[in-house]
């Protein structure tokens, strides 16, 4: 093919991506090697005088289907082709050429051609993003009378050929605000219905600052914290080339100059006497001056307040709240679980998570109204290990459970239940004061020294952890235990 004359492709404009794609498909199908093609953009400097004109593009669809370029290349093309570098079309064509011939290339993210094209796409995307950020509209004194009724106009100088690609963002954002964006190469306008593009403009075609722009400058000057100057960071994210069209940029130099001086003053200045006396309202709000216990002692409400403050073990400081028992005084049955879980901790109520729902299901099957029972836990705070966006339940250590014993005993004394059910070994140990092997002692009535009868069974969470094949039988056995506890002849 070396004797074929170089071909020139004429593109309609710098951002003529469809033209590039159509020509590329045709040339690839004809097997024209990358080195034989010149890419010429209308309006750009003249190319190779001796080149033959490439024939006009044909219907590209069938060829496109035959060529089978990977999907990533199409989206890469849409961005890289907008780069200001004149070599971009050649690079993209070479990449397409190689993709068709080197099967491994589509998975090779570190190939030099591919990385260069992707780097260009990144630069274009960044320029587009900066355009969405740094375009500054100024209101016109009156809407334009050209049939478009434009009320806001911006002057912007993008680094790449991105105006058409970025304009739809502004149409979506300002659907009900007719605007025009003027740039040296292209201009865009929007009337609330229709987006149109025209030739480039000059800065003087855009309106000057209006009176209210001052408010934006005031905001900029005052949101800045002089005690923490980080100029490199600012330069990185807001490169200097954008400054000339950002009204607030005139403040950067004076604010920076004043910064060291202002923060130095703050450091040197001694603290002043408070000029205002603390209002009475504030005093009432102080935690350490709030009354310790407002409820009558010896009630469940008082117990609740005291538990809330308990720091006898370290788990309380990480929990949201202490989770108290719930139910009527003199309830026939008190169900005691291990400790609150994630949902209980968030909602401040016992047995409202997955284990609680399983318990509810069991109670419903047994015809026991939950509201008639007293539900509580042996440990009042949730113990967990944070793992990303979750909290992993951890069984309370013996010492931590022991620190909580008093609260449970107070509860028993105040509620005076007919009998108690220990759900799981932590509850059994707390109620019976000795280690309990749940598997061997479940389902029988045991008695405490104070006469309270206790029936031990599994915690619903243990059922949830089971293999699903064993669940049905285990659930039935668990219901049997609970049925025995609920038998009126024992209550």
């Amino acid at each position: 093919m070396a004797d074929i004359a170089p071909q020139v492709v004429h593109l309609a404009g710098e951002d003529d991506v469809p033209g590039f794609r159509a020509a590329a498909r045709r040339l690839l199908a004809q097997g024209i090697a990358p080195g034989r093609i010149g890419w010429h953009v209308a309006g750009a400097a003249e190319g190779d005088l001796f080149a033959t004109e490439a024939p006009a593009p044909e219907a590209p669809t069938e060829l496109g289907a035959v060529l089978k370029l990977p999907a990533f290349f199409v989206s890469l093309c849409n961005r890289t082709a907008l780069h200001a570098d004149p070599a971009r079309f050649g690079l993209l064509y070479r990449l397409a050429w190689r993709l068709l011939r080197e099967p491994g290339l589509r998975h090779d993210l570190l190939d030099p051609d591919r990385m260069q094209a992707e780097q260009m796409a990144r630069v274009v995307r960044r320029d587009m993003h900066k355009m969405t950020a740094f375009v500054r509209f100024r209101p016109l004194a009156a809407p334009t009378d050209d049939g478009w009724g434009i009320t806001h106009v911006a002057w912007f100088e993008p680094g790449h050929h991105i105006v058409e690609a970025t304009a739809p963002f502004f149409a979506r954002r300002f659907a009900q605000m007719p605007w025009a964006i003027l740039t040296p190469e292209r201009s865009a306008r929007w009337n609330g219905q229709q987006l149109a593009f025209g030739p480039g403009a000059q800065k003087s075609d855009a309106p000057p600052a209006d009176a209210n722009e001052r408010l934006w400058l005031t905001y900029y000057a005052n949101i800045f914290n002089p005690a923490r100057l980080k100029l490199a960071m600012m330069h990185k994210e807001m490169p200097r080339r954008y400054w000339k069209n950002l009204p607030e940029a005139v403040l950067i130099q004076p604010l920076t100059a004043l910064s060291a001086q202002r923060s130095g003053q703050m450091l040197e200045q001694a603290a002043t006497e408070p000029a205002h006396r603390r209002p009475a309202a504030s005093i009432a709000l102080r935690l350490d001056q709030r009354p310790e216990v407002v409820e009558a002692p010896g009630t469940l409400a008082a117990l609740r307040q005291a538990t809330e403050r308990c720091r006898a073990c370290p788990i309380g400081q990480f929990a949201t709240q202490a989770v108290h028992g719930e139910g009527p005084v003199n309830a026939p049955l008190m169900l005691v679980g291990e400790q609150p879980g994630d949902q209980e901790d968030l909602r401040g109520r016992p047995f409202v998570g997955p284990a609680g729902q399983l318990l509810d299901r069991a109670l419903a099957q047994l015809g026991l109204p939950r509201a008639a029972l007293y539900l509580t836990n042996a440990v009042k705070h949730f113990k967990f290990e944070p793992r990303g966006q979750r909290r992993i339940h951890k069984t309370a250590a013996q010492q931590e459970a022991a620190a909580c014993l008093d609260w449970l005993e107070h509860e028993i004394a105040l509620v005076r239940p007919g009998a108690a059910v220990a759900l799981g070994s932590t509850a059994a140990r707390a109620l019976l004061g000795r280690p309990v092997a749940v598997a061997s002692e479940r389902g029988q009535w045991l008695q405490r020294a104070d006469g309270l009868r206790v029936l031990v069974t599994l915690h619903p969470a243990a059922l949830l952890r089971m293999d699903s094949r064993d669940f049905d039988a285990a659930f039935a056995a668990w219901l049997d235990d609970l049925r025995r506890a609920a038998d009126p002849q024992y209550l």
């Binding site: 509209f137 300002f174 659907a175 005031t218 923490r228 910064s259 603290a271 603390r278 709000l285």
Partner: protein, 425 residues
């Protein structure tokens, strides 16, 4: 007082809140609406101040009058700063005017506590309601929530806002008791828990239910009740109390796990005009703040547990090297790892390799052997990476060199990378 003066005071009063994010909410635009505004997932930083912070939202206080006396706060009742108070329509008009100029993504509204938490919260929510309902504003709204405000106001705030936040302010309840005597750590956590429940419920309601009875009928998707689609965040002040970095990270990990926060912001305690007595009148610990953010990223994106990041016995992160390098130097027995074989979890722990680089390496090594030139093209810092890996084309790594730490530590001149404040370095 004229609007310009009010804006100056109430922007100044708001600048100690680090958050300015406008990302993470659902996509929407103003096509077919009555007003303006859109959000497209990623946030947009419309400007940057010389303090290096992004300006994405109009971040202001409704008022800087406050009945609380939090020692670290410029707006505390005993401070001598000038006070001002916006009318609701003033905030609405400022937001819309700045938005039309394309200066902002939306509004971040906070307030000093006046009269009562409920009274204050109601005014804050009213601003958001007017923007949404009367002006059909579809930009971003972040509302600071007052923990003691009523459940009903919290629920209303979530209907209008993209993001809600409650500042935990300080790493421990004890510090809060000393420095912010009116604030109640328990109430703050309970409010965060309530927000998480609301956010979870809204998400669950938005998940389409599968219709099984009528297989040919598409499942009906009820319109999801909107509740703070961009989630909740919080801020912790660093350097105003004695908490070490280990306890700060423990608190963060707990907050992420318990309340599914999108972000915990660390705000180096900044000397404020008219500072309270008994607070450090030092330059803000900016490098420490930076290290905490790096450690936070290690927890959220690199698979590090909160309790393995700080190795030093004093509970502090090293200031001269980043926490990942510090961890690798302290765990050399786990290195070098084979770049062509090591699992993702281990590659993420190699100093100098980020999440994106690791993904590219993993994808490419499926089809061919990685060589050292691949790393150069990825533009990763070879000096940091090479000692911790083996890869064809690279010499032996020098992992066991006694002076490795010294070699990898940035030279003092390079400290400008951290951008220490001029005159306080």
């Amino acid at each position: 007082m004229d609007l310009n003066r009010k804006l100056a005071i109430l922007a100044d009063a708001a600048k100690y809140d680090a958050s300015c994010a406008s990302s993470g909410t659902h996509k929407r635009d103003s096509v077919g609406g009555r007003g303006i505004g859109s959000t497209e997932g990623a946030g947009i930083c419309h400007s940057y101040a010389p303090d290096g912070r992004c300006i994405s939202l109009l971040k202001i206080l409704l008022t800087n009058y406050c009945v609380y006396d939090c020692l670290y706060c410029i707006n505390r009742v005993s401070s001598n700063v000038d006070r001002a108070r916006f009318r609701i329509d003033e905030v609405v008009q400022l937001t819309l005017d700045f938005y039309r100029r394309n200066c902002i993504e939306g509004l971040f509204l906070s307030s000093g506590i006046i009269r009562s938490p409920d009274y204050t919260m109601e005014r804050v929510v009213e601003v958001a309601r007017v923007l949404r309902e009367e002006h059909d504003f579809r930009g971003y709204i972040h509302l600071k929530t007052i923990p003691e405000a009523s459940e009903e106001l919290l629920a209303r705030a979530g209907r209008y806002a993209d993001r809600l936040s409650i500042n935990v302010e300080l790493p421990t309840s004890e510090s809060l008791r000393v420095l912010a005597p009116e604030k109640d750590g328990q109430a703050i956590r309970r409010s965060m828990a309530r927000l998480r429940i609301h956010i979870d419920d809204a998400k669950a309601a938005a998940t389409p239910t599968v219709a099984t009875s009528q297989p040919r009928v598409a499942p009906k998707r009820a319109r999801a009740p909107r509740f703070a689609p961009a989630g909740q965040s919080t801020q912790m002040i660093v350097g105003a109390d004695a908490s070490d970095d280990r306890s700060i990270l423990t608190t963060s990990a707990t907050l992420y796990g318990a309340y599914r926060l999108k972000r915990v912001y660390y705000s180096a305690f900044s000397p404020i005009p008219d500072a309270a007595r008994g607070l450090p009148l030092a330059a803000p610990p900016l490098v420490r703040e930076h290290r905490l953010y790096q450690a936070d990223w290690l927890m959220r994106f690199y698979g590090f547990a909160h309790d393995e990041i700080v190795g030093a016995s004093d509970g502090m992160l090293a200031l001269d090297i980043d926490p990942k390098l510090a961890w690798a130097l302290a765990h050399r027995e786990k290195f070098p790892v084979d770049l062509n074989r090591a699992p993702r979890e281990m590659l993420l722990r190699v100093p100098g390799l980020g999440v994106t680089s690791v993904k590219r390496l993993l994808d490419t090594r499926r089809i061919r052997t990685l060589r050292v030139d691949d790393l150069s093209r990825l533009k990763v810092p070879l000096k940091n990476v090479l000692p911790f890996i083996t890869v064809p084309g690279a010499a032996r790594n020098g992992l066991d060199d006694a002076n490795l730490a010294a070699r990898l530590r940035p030279q003092p001149r390079q400290l400008s990378l951290f951008d220490l404040p001029v005159g306080h370095g």
